[in-house]
């Protein structure tokens, strides 16, 4: 009677420290340029090298510009950070996908799409959205830089085992309602701290029906509910997605792996510390009106009367206001939340045959070069270009504005990213989180629109 969390976690415990945390073995460490330099610096200060270099994959993504990646980064500070990662990977012989390499992209998009993140694994990265990889049926969570150093030094981390929560969503998501809307709906219901201390397993027919891309979006946003991570038990959708990926097992190894992965599910009589149930039919296309992802509402609804006054002041909104028809200045499609091929298909399905509104600045940023190649293979680039959109080069981009893709103060951006915190997309920027469908509807209309009216 074990939960899926128990099965994976317990099989990775090296040691239980009495009245303390557990020593957990880590199968995969991902490093990007922002949260790793001080960890490598720490290693050197201790006079040691990475313990298991073959289990470490590195790539820059936060600072990378979304144009002219074949040229050096203009901002000298960003360039130094990216070069520091490269120097560290050289020094220790670590796998590195540099900027503009065909394998490069946002770490949380690249890991699953290359089959580097596999069911049953423990996966960490100095990045809270590491929860994304849980969609393949893994325990994946974000850590701090000191913890990155722990894993570099010992391939282990000291952690309290999180409590187990199951969120079951049954039924069918309606027309125009995506995994992103489901996640924003869950946050609206349970708040940004509703799952703090827990690891969430997503279950139910609505979750089972999601594609791998949808599950990745859902698990990505687990951290925004406060959860350490989220995961979905692997099934045929998972195996179909992973089969043939460059770094997934091959041949007899694949068959053996799948046989093992089929045991990764919560036993029927497993007991969760907390269980929540929702009906997919209750979920509408969602937008946020405030300054944390839990401040969301159905796109055609009104801002709640008791909404946080400080947040509304920052956003320039009022309680009771309806946002349909509200002017939009920027649209951002991308990030580890919605930068995958399915997100570009969704955006293009609304944009096709329509024109980008002249006054809207649109940034369409694929999550990886692999996504970019797929966009081109499917001709989506042509569809989008015909509608007045330009596709940029991969990276984290305007999700957190560490490169030059910043939303100016006071401007409204409908964004498919994960956080609408004050200043997240640039000082004073006003972020409205939404799905790729809703973002596309805003981009062609110049204002907030219910995407169902354009489908």
């Amino acid at each position: 009677m074990k939960t899926l969390l128990d099965k994976i976690w317990d099989s990775h415990v090296v040691k239980v420290i009495e009245e303390g945390p557990q020593q957990l073995y880590i199968d995969r460490l991902y490093c990007h340029e922002v949260t790793s330099p001080q960890a490598f610096e720490g290693l050197r200060a201790r006079g040691i090298a990475p313990f298991r270099p073959e289990k470490i994959i590195c790539m820059p993504d936060h600072n990378t510009p979304t144009h002219d990646q074949d040229k050096p980064i203009e901002d000298p500070v960003s360039r130094t950070q990216v070069e520091t990662l490269e120097a560290n990977t050289r020094m220790y012989g670590l796998t590195h996908y540099p900027m503009n390499d065909p394998r490069n992209g946002i770490i949380h998009v690249v890991g699953p799409e290359r089959g580097l993140s596999l069911p049953g694994m423990t996966i960490v990265c100095g990045d809270s959205h590491t929860s994304t990889h849980g969609a393949v049926g893994a325990i994946a969570f974000g850590i701090g830089t000191s913890e990155v150093e722990m894993v570099l030094a010992s391939q282990c981390i000291l952690q309290q085992k999180p409590k187990a929560m199951r969120i079951t969503v049954d039924g069918e998501l309606g027309k125009g309602v995506t995994a992103k809307d489901l996640a924003l709906y869950l946050m609206m219901k349970i708040s940004t701290s509703g799952a703090t201390g827990y690891f969430v397993e997503y279950a139910g027919s609505a979750v089972r029906s999601l594609s791998m891309e949808g599950r990745l979006t859902l698990c990505n946003l687990s951290i925004e509910m406060g959860a350490r991570g989220g995961l979905v038990a692997p099934d045929e959708v998972t195996f179909e997605y992973l089969k043939g990926k460059p770094d997934a097992p091959k041949g007899a190894d694949w068959d053996k792996a799948v046989a093992r992965w089929r045991n990764l599910y919560s036993d029927e009589d497993a007991v969760f510390d907390k269980e929540l149930r929702f009906d997919a039919a209750d979920v509408s296309p969602m937008i946020t009106y405030g300054t944390n992802p839990g401040m969301g509402m159905p796109v055609d609804s009104r801002i709640p009367a008791d909404a946080d006054a400080g947040a509304l002041d920052y956003m320039g909104f009022e309680a009771g206001q309806q946002l349909l028809g509200h002017k939009v200045d920027y649209v951002f499609l991308g990030a580890c939340t919605n930068g995958r091929i399915e997100d570009f298909r969704a955006f293009a399905s609304v944009a096709a045959g329509r024109r980008k509104a002249d006054e809207v600045v649109a940034w369409l940023v694929p999550g990886s070069w692999s996504v970019m190649r797929q966009i081109q293979a499917e001709g989506l680039d042509k569809v989008l270009e015909a509608s007045g959109f330009e596709i940029r080069q991969p990276g984290c981009s305007a999700c957190l504005a560490m490169n030059e893709d910043k939303v100016p103060a006071g401007k409204y951006c409908v964004s498919t990213s994960n956080r609408n915190f004050e200043g997240r997309q640039g000082p004073g920027a006003r972020t409205i989180l939404a799905s790729p469908l809703t973002a596309a509807a805003a981009a062609v209309s110049g204002c907030i629109v219910d995407p169902r009216t354009l489908m």
Partner: protein
């Protein structure tokens, strides 16, 4: 940085706001440093909150009120949610705080504080709201955090509470040891684990 914890008694700096995320604690554009320069991060703690767009201090924020100071930061519930950036903990440590008191911390940030010898102390909502009132009424209000006894006391009201701290972490804090020191001693155990699960990992 590594320091031994025993008893800390100090005045406090109040931040009576809930859901303070790590983007607020240290905005992303300050994350480009490649060294653990706590002074730099400390100077930019809560940067876009403390400073107005014209670069002057926003004196309406309690944090900027010169009457408040000390080694203890007191914040509203769900402190440190959002991004995993340890730079937030470096900024808090770099500014000179040794303790953060709140009624609720986000998981990753809480670990980051502990790994940087900043002690997150979880108190009840009642304790927190009384403490905010005491500090507001009298900025010289002192709080005593007794790590060996695991108690936190509002010396103005006399209210005292027990706080959670696991025995392992308490030992680390009292002896200025970090988790990496511990893990480096476990090499044989780790190699043994790897041999055992060679087929499954």
């Amino acid at each position: 940085m590594k320091q031994k914890f025993n008893i800390i008694e100090s005045t406090c700096v109040p931040l009576p706001y809930e859901n303070i995320d790590t983007d607020r604690i240290i905005p992303a554009r300050f994350l480009k440093a490649t060294t653990r320069d706590e002074k730099f991060f400390g100077e930019n703690l809560f940067h876009d909150w403390r400073y107005k767009a014209d670069g002057t201090l926003d004196m309406s924020l309690e944090f900027n009120d010169p009457r408040y100071g000390g080694e203890i930061l007191v914040a509203g519930k769900n402190f440190g949610n959002g991004s995993s950036r340890e730079h937030a903990a470096w900024a808090i440590a770099g500014y000179g705080f040794k303790v953060v008191i709140s009624s609720f911390f986000a998981d990753i940030h809480k670990n980051n504080e502990l790994n940087n010898f900043v002690l997150p102390v979880v108190v009840s909502e009642d304790f927190l709201s009384e403490l905010f009132s005491c500090i507001k009424a009298d900025p010289s209000t002192r709080v005593r955090v007794d790590v060996p006894a695991q108690t936190v006391t509002n010396l103005s009201s006399g209210r005292s509470e027990h706080f959670e701290l696991n025995a392992y972490k308490k030992y680390c804090l009292e002896n200025a040891l970090d988790d990496i020191d511990y893990l480096l001693e476990q090499k044989e155990l780790i190699e043994g684990y790897e041999r055992l699960c060679a087929d499954n990992c």
